[in-house]
Amino acid sequence: MKSKSVKTKTLLSIEDLSVTLYTDKVTVCPVNTVNYTVESGKVLAIVGESGSGKTVMNMAPLGLLPQGVTADVEGSVLFEGKNLLSMNETEKQRIRGGEIGVIFQDPLSSLNPVRRIGPQISEVIELHLGLSTSAAQKQAVDMLNLVGIPNPESRMKQYPHELSGGMRQRVCIAMSIAGEPKLLIADEPTTALDVTVQAQIVSLLKDLQKRLNMSIVLITHDIGVVSGMADYLAVMYAGRLIEIGTVEKVLLESMHPYTWGLLDSVSTLSTPIGMPFQGIKGNPPNLTLNIKGCPFVPRCDYSIDDCNEGRPLLTNCDDREIGHSTACTVANKKNLRYSAVSKI
C-alpha cells in the first residue's frame, strides 16, 4: 500500500446538497442544503438522531440509495475536483470501491451469505487494482491480516455465518479498503456490535487511517466514538447541518442548543449515581412537512421570535480562526458560550 502525501488539501467538497425522496405515499426531504468539506487524511464525524439524514447525505451522491426509491439530488459534490453528481454510471462505478470505500452498519446483512469471504474481498482487488485472481487472493490474505483477523488463510474459505460479529465487521472493513480508496465512509460501524467489540473496531479504524492516510467520514450517534477518533465534528438535525467545527471546539465550546442537549444526554463515569437520564424534550420533526425557520424551535429553551423567520444559516462563530460554524439565530446574535468543563 502506498502512503499518500501529507499535504492538507480538500478531498471532498459538498455545496448546497439537497436530496428529495419520492415514494408512492409521501415526499420527504431528508437532506436540506448542506455544506461541508473533508480534508485528506482527516476524520470527519457526523452525528445526529436516527432520521436526521446523515446516511442519505453520504449515500445519495454515490448512487447507493436502496432500490425502488426515486430521488432528486441537487447541488454539487466535488471529489478531487470532479462533481460526483454529473458523472455517468461507469465513472461512478470506478469511484465506488476504488476511490471511495463504504462500510455499512450491519456486517451480517452486508455480506453475501452464500459466498465465501475470500472472493468477496479479492474481487474488489481484482476490479480496482487490476491484479490477477491468484495475486488478488494473496493480497486479500494480507488485508485480513491488516484488519487483525487471525489465521487469514483458513478464513478465506469460510462463509459469513461462520464468523463472529466483530470478525464480520473486520471483514467488511477489509472489503472497503481493499481497493485502496482515498476516502472511507463508515456508516455507524459500531452500532450493531457488542460494547467490548466496539472499542476494538474503533481502534482498528484509527490505526488504519493513520497508516494509509485515508480520510474517513464517520457517521455515528455515539459521541464516545467521536471523541476517540475524529478531527472534525458535524451535527445534523432535521436534514440540516446545524453545527460543524473541530472536535474540541464543538464538544467543549458548542454554540447550538441541540448540541448542548446531545452532550447533556451522555452519561459519563463521573455522572452521579441515581441521576435521571437527560433527554431532549419533544420529538424529531416530521420531514414530510415544510418547516419555516429553525427546525429545532419546538424543543428549544432559548428560542426567540426571530428564530421562526427564515432558516438560520451556518455562520462562522469563531473570531480567531475558521474552525467553528453554527446555524443558530440566537447564537449568531448573542454569542453565547458554553463550557462542558464546568459540567464535569
Binding site: T20, Y22, T23, D24, K25, T27, C29, G68, T70, D72, N290, K292
Partner: protein, 292 residues
C-alpha cells in the same frame, strides 16, 4: 363509485373487465347464443366466418360462436362448483385437523400430504378410471384431487390463529369451542382460501379442459373447449379455425384468472413511482418550497 375506484387502484381494471365478461357469459350465455349450440346442420359443414355465423361452423354444422359461449358456461360453472365443493370439504378437514390436533391431526394430514404429493390430474384420472366418465364423475374426481390444498391451507391458518393470545382470553371469558371456531377462526380461513382460489381457478380450468381433451371429462354433445378442440384436431389442416377458437378462448380465460390472482396477491406491495407521477410530484414540491 368509491368502491370501483378502490378496486381500480388495487388490482387494476383489466382483470375486472375479463372477469366481468365471463360472468355475463356464465349467467346470460343462454340468451347470447345466436343458435342452439347443439343444433347440427349437415348442409353447412365447416362454413367460414360470415355474417350469419360469426365464427363459422364446425364439422357437424353447429355454430361455433354459440358453442364457444356454451363452452364458457360449462367451464365457469364447473370451476365454481368444484371450488365450492373442494373448499368446503377441504376447510372442514383443515378445521377439524387444526383445531383438534393430536392423532386426528396426524392421520388427516398424512392423507392430505399424500393427496398433495401426487398431481391433480393423476388422482382425477384414477377416480374417473374407477367410476367412469361423465360430467358429475369428473366434478367428483377433480374435487377429490383438489381438496388437499385447501385442507392444508385452512389448517395452517387455524393453527396460526389459535396461537394468538386473544383466543385464550375468549376461552376464559366462557366462549364455547364451537363459537370460537365459527366466529373467529373460520372467517380468517375463509379470507385466505378466497385469495388462493382466485389464482387457483386458472389451473382448475386447465385441468377440466385437459380431462375433456382426453375424452374423459365433459362428454359430447355438451360443449366444452377442451373437448371441442380434440374433436376438431383431425380437421386441423382444413379448418384450423375450429381448433384455434376454443384454444384461444381457453387461453384468455386462464390469463384472466391468472392476472386476477396475481394482482390480488401483490396488491399489498409498495410500487415504484411511474415517471409521470414522479414529475408531477417534483413540480408540486418545488412550488411548495418556493413559498418559503
Amino acid at each position: 363509485m368509491k368502491i370501483i375506484r378502490k378496486i381500480h387502484k388495487t388490482i387494476g381494471i383489466l382483470p375486472i373487465f375479463i372477469m366481468g365478461v365471463f360472468a355475463i357469459l356464465a349467467l346470460f350465455g343462454d340468451l347470447l347464443c345466436p343458435y342452439d349450440p347443439n343444433a347440427q346442420n349437415l348442409m353447412k359443414v365447416i362454413d367460414p366466418m360470415s355474417t350469419s355465423h360469426l365464427l363459422g361452423t364446425d364439422h357437424l354444422g353447429r355454430d361455433l360462436l354459440s358453442r364457444t359461449i356454451a363452452g364458457a358456461q360449462t367451464t365457469i360453472k364447473a370451476v365454481v362448483v368444484i371450488i365450492l365443493f373442494a373448499a368446503s370439504f377441504g376447510m372442514t378437514v383443515g378445521l377439524i385437523a387444526g383445531f383438534m390436533g393430536g392423532w386426528i391431526d396426524e392421520i388427516l394430514m398424512r392423507i392430505v400430504e399424500f393427496g398433495l404429493s401426487v398431481p391433480s390430474l393423476v388422482v382425477a384420472l384414477g377416480v374417473i378410471g374407477v367410476f367412469g366418465t361423465g360430467y358429475w364423475n369428473m366434478v367428483f374426481a377433480i374435487t377429490i384431487a383438489w381438496y388437499p390444498i385447501y385442507a392444508r391451507l385452512t389448517r395452517g391458518v387455524v393453527i396460526s390463529v389459535m396461537h394468538q393470545p386473544y383466543i385464550e382470553s375468549l376461552r376464559v371469558l366462557g366462549a364455547s369451542r364451537l363459537r370460537i371456531v365459527l366466529k373467529h377462526i373460520f372467517p380468517e380461513a375463509l379470507g385466505a382460501i378466497m385469495i388462493y382460489a382466485s389464482f387457483d381457478a386458472g389451473i382448475l380450468a386447465l385441468v377440466i379442459a385437459n380431462l375433456s381433451f382426453l375424452g374423459l371429462g365433459v362428454q359430447p354433445p355438451m360443449s366444452e373447449w377442451g373437448q371441442m378442440l380434440v374433436t376438431a384436431l383431425p380437421y386441423l389442416e382444413h379448418s384450423p379455425r375450429q381448433v384455434i377458437v376454443p384454444g384461444v378462448s381457453l387461453t384468455i380465460m386462464v390469463i384472466g384468472f391468472n392476472i386476477l390472482g396475481e394482482r390480488i396477491a401483490l396488491s399489498n406491495n409498495p410500487k415504484p413511482l411511474k415517471d409521470k407521477i414522479f414529475q408531477k410530484r417534483r413540480k408540486l414540491f418545488r412550488l411548495k418550497n418556493q413559498e418559503i
